[in-house]
């Protein structure tokens, strides 16, 4: 089955599966230096890592990018100009308060379907997409339940693995007791695999990530789908409601839902501190830093990473932060 690679959480895996193709929402190992995107000042290292990884991994049939990030939007030019890999740009609206943007997102899903057909996919029968959605809802229920059984990093890795393969890891490590650790939230943009070391840094400094609100974590899981109740139910509308209508993010305008979501999670998980992790040149998360500082009533740390050289500096900052929170 053709492998369709993407990074953005607003691309529904269910649609790709329904077309008979294999979705893989990947995280790059690091901020890849080899591929169509050169190392240039101002280029987001995550975007470079994703595009260079997607363009150099074997067996890729097509790449999906979205308009959620301006540099990802512009990356399509590089894929088109410098590789032969087919790519598709999904227009995900930034605004969300009026019905016409949901219609637009649905029309984009239909267009994505056309692209998937050109990649060898087959337009699914009406029932089939619903069945795939039900399966994914069940799998995500299991995935959500793992939070109680796994340590923070393992849980986030399990989410990443599910996004990459659609499977839930079988050989799961046991949970280590975290009683004396300070509960913190990790929020921000996507992580590379290398960046998962942040969980260890936080743990070694006395913290425990009880909320992975990064783009790679649980924040970007779609809402559970309602099953089909009547023949009139529209599967694409349901996909749109649970993805576009549910996932809070820094790119939305206005971005009030992100704050509502964060407040809810802080309250219900007893979070004592928030760490925002962002790749340098990520303007949308960077601009959240001052607002979050003003808005949050608990300690806050901003960690900028370039994916290459900041491990020791970051460790020192996290350690100092955890001392403050503890």
């Amino acid at each position: 089955m053709g492998l369709i690679v993407y990074s953005c959480p607003y691309v529904p895996a269910e649609l790709i599966v329904a077309y008979g193709l294999t979705p893989s929402r990947i995280l790059p190992e690091s901020t890849g230096l080899n591929g169509p995107i050169d190392v240039t000042a101002g280029v987001c290292p995550y975007m470079r890592g994703f595009v260079n990884t997607a363009c150099t991994m074997s067996g890729v049939t097509g790449i999906i990018l979205t308009t959620v990030c301006d540099q990802m939007r512009h990356a399509k030019d590089y894929i088109e100009q410098r590789t032969a890999i087919p790519s598709f740009l999904l227009n995900v609206p930034s605004t969300w308060q009026i019905p016409s943007v949901i219609k637009l997102y649905i029309s984009e899903l239909k267009r994505l379907g056309n692209f998937l057909e050109t990649m060898g996919g087959k337009s699914p029968a009406t029932d089939y997409l619903w069945r795939v959605m039900e399966e994914y809802t069940k799998k995500r229920e299991k995935l959500r339940a793992l939070r109680a059984d796994l340590n923070a990093m393992d849980y986030s890795m399990a989410i990443a693995e599910f996004n990459r393969t659609g499977q839930i890891m079988h050989a799961l490590p046991g949970r280590i007791a975290e009683e004396n650790k300070v509960p913190v939230a990790l929020i921000g943009g996507p992580l590379t695999i290398q960046d998962f070391n942040l969980f260890n840094l936080i743990r070694h400094s006395g913290g425990n990530v009880v909320l992975d609100g990064t783009e790679s974590g649980e924040r970007t899981m779609p809402a559970p789908f309602n099953g089909r109740r009547s023949e009139k139910d529209d599967s694409l509308l349901e996909l749109a409601s649970c993805y576009f209508g549910h996932i809070p993010d820094a790119f939305r305008r206005p971005n009030s839902e992100l704050y509502k979501w964060l407040k809810r999670e802080i309250d219900c998980r007893g979070i004592k501190g928030v760490i925002l992790v962002r790749h340098i040149w990520c303007d949308k998360w960077h601009a959240k830093v001052p607002r979050l500082r003003e808005w949050l009533k608990i300690p806050f740390l901003d960690v900028d990473i370039d994916g290459e050289s900041s491990a020791i500096r970051t460790a020192g900052r996290i350690q100092a932060f955890m001392e403050t929170v503890s």
Partner: protein, 460 residues
């Protein structure tokens, strides 16, 4: 009085102004010597060289009195709209009403340059967490907060979607500070797919009908908000009249560009042409006056061309310039290095294209918004640049990066590749901060090297 075209300093303008006054030249109500702006803090003027014509004096005076006009509008009870990011679309709608003034707070991005950092707007942006890793348009945030550069708008609208992340992030920060913003979605323009009905946009791009319809519906929301604020309808008749006036401005500018880029002797320096082009986006807060200013400039350069006079040697290297410079002084520098501007893409080419009049006016505005080079692919933008190079005979391209801007890190290489492969021209990529003084020697070296490269190529 009639003097040969010459680039002169601010001090030389003092003498020239007295001469013009003695000769009884008519000045508009905002006229006067340029030195008064220096006293007000526009320190950069002392380091710039200006065209010596009365028409250019009017242009500078018109530009530098915009703040006064905005404050006067407020006093007169006109409604003020801060229209952000779309560069040219919403103001056409706003100026269709008699009691509305629209302006771009984005324009504050030149304040740090013009005031040589003395305005403090960047320091305010810093204090609000928007540091130098963002595009200099962050100056807008400081301008809003200090309230020293324009009155608080009665309505702020901002396009978002296929826009640069810097702007979107900074505008959201502004929103978080308590400024309500009407966000409207501008789509990433794409090519029509198989079985999709397509529309040709002003400027030559194509997109699907559905995209135009969506953007039209978004502009309808903006229109309703403006009508509600102004207390009167923007009916089709008013809007058509507004479009016709905007088209007149655009027609003047197209002619100005065509004449300037193709004349044997350059009739207007790069700096004045850049400022003139900017009038297209919101008419510098006075649509009728912008027409008068442009008409005066056109008359001047026609005179110069027919007299066979202008600036620089005829062998000055013909440069296509991509992106506006954060430091205006660099436009002078290019000419000092032996170049002249023959083609520009200052991010708002779509504001120079004629808005169609043979279709419904809101649909026409939607087409115009989608014609913005920044909402499509960089490949599209590069194609338009190549087309213009063909029209104007440019011999080299300079891509001027805006520090921190999300698009600038990526677009230069794509544009350079396209220009080199399709037009076989040299391309230079530079970065221009709001005050480029410290890098002027290295910029000088690089611009001179480009000019010499082109001159060597001519020999082959």
């Amino acid at each position: 009085m009639n003097l040969a075209p010459k680039k002169i300093t601010l001090t030389e303008w003092d003498e020239r102004f007295i001469e013009l006054q003695s000769a009884g030249i008519n000045q508009p109500k905002y006229g006067g010597p340029l030195r008064r702006y220096l006293t007000d803090g526009d320190l950069r003027l002392e380091k710039l060289k200006f065209d010596n014509s009365p028409a250019s004096l009017n242009l500078w005076n018109f530009l530098l009195t915009e703040e006064d006009r905005l404050h006067a509008s407020r006093k007169e009870g006109r409604k003020i709209i801060g229209t952000m990011k779309d560069l040219g679309t919403v103001p056409v709608m706003a100026y269709s009403l008699p009691n509305v003034t629209a302006f771009y707070p984005d324009g504050a991005w030149w304040t740090p340059c013009v005031m040589e950092m003395s305005s403090g707007v960047l320091a305010v942006a810093d204090s609000l967490g928007i540091d130098e890793s963002f595009c200099p348009v962050r100056a807008m945030l400081g301008a809003f907060v200090t309230k020293a550069h324009f009155p608080d708008p009665d309505l702020i609208v901002c396009s978002v979607g296929a826009t640069c992340d810097d702007f979107s992030a900074i505008a959201q920060r502004l929103n978080g500070l308590g400024y309500p913003i009407l966000w409207w979605e501008i789509l990433h323009r794409r090519k029509p797919e198989r079985n999709e009905q397509s529309v040709k946009l002003p400027g030559g791009f194509e997109c699907p009908v559905g995209q135009v319809e969506f953007v039209e519906s978004e502009l309808q929301r903006v229109k309703l908000a403006i009508e509600s604020l102004a207390g009167m309808k923007i009916d089709d008749k008013r809007l058509c009249t507004g479009i016709k006036t905007a088209n007149k401005v655009r027609q003047y500018l197209r002619e100005l560009r065509q004449l300037t880029f193709t004349a044997r002797f350059c009739p207007l320096p790069a700096l004045e042409l850049l400022i003139a082009e900017m009038l297209a986006i919101h008419f510098c807060s006075d649509q009728q006056e912008s027409l008068d200013v442009l008409s005066g400039l056109l008359e001047e350069i026609r005179k110069r061309i027919s007299a066979g006079v202008g600036f620089f040697d005829p062998d000055a290297v013909r440069i296509f310039w991509v992106n506006p410079v954060a430091d205006l002084r660099v436009m002078n520098l290019l000419e000092d290095c032996g170049g002249r501007i023959c083609g520009t893409d200052y991010l708002f080419c779509h504001a120079l294209d004629e808005i169609p009049l043979d279709i419904h006016p809101m649909n026409a505005l939607a087409r115009m918004a989608l014609a913005d080079p920044m909402v499509g692919s960089t490949g599209d933008r590069a194609q338009r640049i190549c087309n213009d190079i063909g029209l104007f005979g440019s011999e080299a391209v300079i891509v001027s990066r805006i520090p921190g801007a999300s698009h600038c890190a990526l677009e230069g290489a794509i544009i350079a590749d396209e220009v080199r492969s399709k037009m076989r021209l040299p391309v230079l990529e530079i970065e221009v901060p709001p005050l480029a003084d410290s890098i002027l020697p290295s910029l000088n070296t690089r611009l001179t090297a480009l000019v010499e490269t082109v001159k060597e190529r001519r020999k082959k």
